[in-house]
């Protein structure tokens, strides 16, 4: 998230918006954005419907057994088609903004 915020201008220059999605409530997202200074949209998917549709559900993944999202990044083009995907196998290791920008430049 931090990396995407730092490179947000480069995404916007390319006409691309970064959108974060989790099961967190809007209040939790608001707190997160305020404390970390994130300025792109953080969307709340409390029942994990969208998360399930993208196939990135981590059933019972939170410590209290809630369904959550597994970490994943998708690049969607203007026609609504997925053009690039990053699916990590380690919650520590997330997509680097530079590789997403490179994928955008290849579109």
């Amino acid at each position: 998230m931090r990396g995407f915020e730092q490179h947000l201008n480069e995404f916007h220059q390319r006409g691309v918006e970064v959108v974060a999605i989790s099961v967190d409530s809007p209040a939790e997202s608001r707190q997160l954005c305020q404390s970390r200074g994130y300025t792109f949209p953080f969307l709340s998917d409390p029942k994990a419907d969208t998360i399930r549709q993208y196939g990135v559900l981590h059933a019972d993944g939170s410590p209290d057994g809630k369904n959550i999202a597994r970490p994943a990044e998708f690049l969607v083009d203007a026609s609504g088609t997925i053009r690039w995907v990053n699916l990590t196998d380690d919650i520590r290791v997330r997509a680097r903004p530079e590789s997403v920008l490179a994928a955008i430049d290849r579109l």
Partner: protein, 143 residues
């Protein structure tokens, strides 16, 4: 003769503690030290080397240096901290479901309409009206 405090043992242990606790607030912020936590392993190595030096002189020159018992305890603790770190970064953080079910390249992105942090409804269709692409970052959440 007054035996000297064995500062190497304590310095070594302090560096081992730093090696463990510095990952999340510092090294994990930078992809270069996050993905492969080499900086933390390096700190563990430095701490271990100091501890080894301290233990060595405590046992070889017990008339000059203290720390046979404290150095041994600190070494055992350091090994446990290292083991905890290694298990966490090589096993625990990989306990997520397989990516086999995830949508792939060239598939249609399912449209969505979700509420943002300010309570406003945001739809993928609306976002794609204003932009030529979207990066969707799914994350575990902070609950």
């Amino acid at each position: 003769m007054q035996r000297r405090r064995n500062i190497l043992n304590w310095a070594g242990f302090a560096i081992v503690v730093v090696a463990l606790v510095s990952y999340i607030p510092f090294f994990a912020l930078f992809p270069a030290t996050r993905d492969v936590p080499w900086a933390n392993y390096l700190l563990f190595l430095i701490g271990g080397a100091l501890l080894a030096g301290g233990l060595r002189r405590a046992f070889r020159e017990p008339e000059r240096y203290r720390g046979k018992i404290s150095g041994s305890i600190l070494t055992v603790l350091s090994v446990l901290l290292l083991a905890f770190f290694v298990v966490t970064v090589t096993y625990l953080t990989k306990q997520i479901p397989s990516a086999a079910t995830a949508l792939g390249v060239n598939q249609k992105a399912p449209p969505f309409a979700l509420v943002d942090a300010s309570g406003k409804q945001v739809s993928s269709a609306g976002l794609l009206n204003d932009h030529r692409g979207l990066v969707l970052v799914f994350y575990r959440g902070y609950w």
